[in-house]
Symmetry: C2
């Protein structure tokens, strides 16, 4: 059985497209763009996206319903993500801050709940938009 060392055909097509992009992509925008590669249906896209998220090659920006390639090798292990989102230009970037990620990974509340995953999204104005 495939051990996810390599991606399947559709997964590879979709990952390549997301990785090349500079901003998070929406599922139907991906669909539109990979139709020339033979991917015709939403479900083909969503299945690949699900898998890619699962194995940590991409992340979903929940507040935007969009997908972005992982730039942080740690994520593949931890399933933990931290993003910075500009509310004006919609620029999204992954925050790679060891101190913060450690803090969150080790976080325990008083309920005895055990966390194996978290997703954090920071919103604000990026440097460029602030200057305007």
């Amino acid at each position: 059985m495939q051990k996810q060392e390599s991606l399947s055909k559709n997964q590879q097509i979709i990952f390549d497209f997301i990785e090349k992009a500079k901003e998070p992509l929406k599922a139907y925008s991906i669909l539109f763009n990979v139709q020339k590669k033979g991917i015709k249906a939403p479900l083909q896209v969503y299945r690949a996206l699900d898998k890619l998220v699962e194995i940590g090659k991409i992340h979903k920006i929940e507040s935007r319903n969009a997908f972005i390639a992982c730039k942080n090798s740690n994520c593949e292990v931890s399933n933990a993500t931290i993003f910075s989102i500009c509310n004006k230009c919609e620029n999204v970037s992954e925050i790679n801050n060891l101190k913060l990620s450690k803090y969150l990974t080790n976080f325990e509340d008083d309920t005895g709940m055990q966390y194996n995953k978290y997703n954090l999204e920071f919103f604000g104005l990026c440097k460029k938009c602030k200057a305007k």
Copy 2:
């Protein structure tokens, strides 16, 4: 002009319903349940939800597309939310941890971006589900 000290009719109906609920509610489930109160269209629900989120009376659980009443008076000021989500029973609760929220509110990365809002969702198994 109304200063949001009081809610409008639709806002109040929808807030009351969400506040009574013990779990996060989806927009169309809210719609179905408030139809007897005269709210007939999705847009009426979404408009009220938008406003209630904006003024901090409710929060959106982004990963679930669901809405929950705020149990933390600080949120109304800060727009900062931290949730704990059980992946099995789907129980969601707001984490009220001053140390963590301060840490996040004061967080600065090296991009010079200024954050005025964040949303954090922790995932795992709650005590009950872990025991099973």
